[in-house]
Amino acid sequence: MSVNGPLFYLGAAAALAGAIAVVTVKDMRSAVLAFAGFGLGLGLLLLVIGADLVAGLAVLVLTGVVPAVVLTGMVLTTDPAGPGDDAEAPRRPMLSAVLKRWPLALGVAAGFSALLIGVAATSRGDWVTGPYPPELLDHGTTATLGRVLLSSYTLPFEGVGVLLLAAAVGATVIARRDRMERDMDRAERERAEREERVRRRREDRIRAREGRRPGDSGMAAALPGDEDGG
C-alpha cells in the first residue's frame, strides 16, 4: 500500500500555509492560531505517511501545549499600564511587526531551504535497503513503536520524562520573583515615593511664597490642597 497522494499534498499544503502564516502574520495572537493550524496540517501529513502515534503526539503538542503556553506568556507580558486590547494601541507588545531587514531573512531562509532540497534531490537512494513492513501499514505503528520505545530506547524515554519534570520545575524557578528582584522593586517604589514627597514639598513652598507676596500672608499657605486635588 502506498501513500495516499492527494491527502499527502493536502496535509503538506496545510502545514506549509500554517508555517508561512506563523512567521508572516503581524498580530501575534493570529500567529499562535496559525501555529495550531500548522500542527493540524502536520498531524495529517504524518498520519498519511503512516506514523500514527507520532502524528497524535504532534497534534497534542503543537496544537495544544505550545499555543497554550505561548498564549499564557503573551497574556502575562501585556503591559497593564497600557491601553486594553480593544483600544487602538500603537505600542502594544503583542503587535509584533516584521523587521525592516526581512529581505535578508528571506534570502537566508530560501538559501537554507534550497540547500536542503538540493541535498535531498542529488543524494543517492542508498538508504533504501528494503520494503516497509506491511504489518505496520495494516495495523498501525503504535504497538511496534511502543515496544521499540520501551526496549531499545528505554534510557532516552526515561530521560525525556526526567527532562519534562526538570523543565516544569525549572520554569517555575526561573519565572519566580526572586529576592533580588523584590528588593529592587521595593527600592524603586521607595525612590518614587521620596521623589513625590520632595516634589510636593517644593510645590507647597512655591505656593506659600506666591501667596505671601500679595501681602495677605498666611491665607494661601493655609490652603495647600486647593489646586492639587488632595
Binding site: I20, V22, L46, T77, A110, L116, G170
Partner: protein, 105 residues
C-alpha cells in the same frame, strides 16, 4: 508518481526554511519561539520520512522513535523558553528582541 522520501524531505526543508525566516525576521520573542518550534517540526518530518521510506531492515521505527522523543523535548524547550521570556519581560519591560540589547557590544 508515488510519494517518496524526496517529497517528504522537500516539505521538511520548506517548513525548516519558514522557521529560519521567522527566527531572523520576528521581533517578538514569542514569534521567535514559534519559529524555533517550526524548525524543530521540520526536522521531525524528515525523521519520520526516513523511517517510513528509508532503511527498513532491522528496526523500522528508529526514526519515528527519535521524532517522538524530539517532540517531547521540544515541548520542554517551549515551556522553559516562555519562562525565560517572562523573566526578561519583568527585568526589561519588553519582549522585543531589538530592545534586549544589553549584551550587544
Amino acid at each position: 508518481m508515488s510519494i517518496g522520501v524526496t517529497h517528504v524531505l522537500v516539505v521538511s526543508a520548506l517548513i525548516f526554511g519558514a522557521g529560519v525566516y521567522g527566527v531572523l525576521a520576528r521581533r517578538s520573542l514569542f514569534g521567535v519561539l514559534l519559529a524555533l518550534q517550526l524548525m524543530l517540526a521540520g526536522a521531525e518530518v524528515a525523521l519520520v520520512g526516513f523511517a517510513r521510506f528509508g532503511n527498513a531492515s532491522a528496526q523500522p521505527l528508529d526514526g519515528m522513535a527519535l521524532a517522538f522523543l524530539a517532540i517531547l523535548a521540544g515541548a520542554a524547550e517551549g515551556v522553559v523558553a516562555v519562562a525565560l521570556v517572562l523573566l526578561a519581560y519583568r527585568r526589561h519591560r519588553t519582549v522585543h528582541v531589538d530592545e534586549l540589547d544589553k549584551l550587544a557590544g
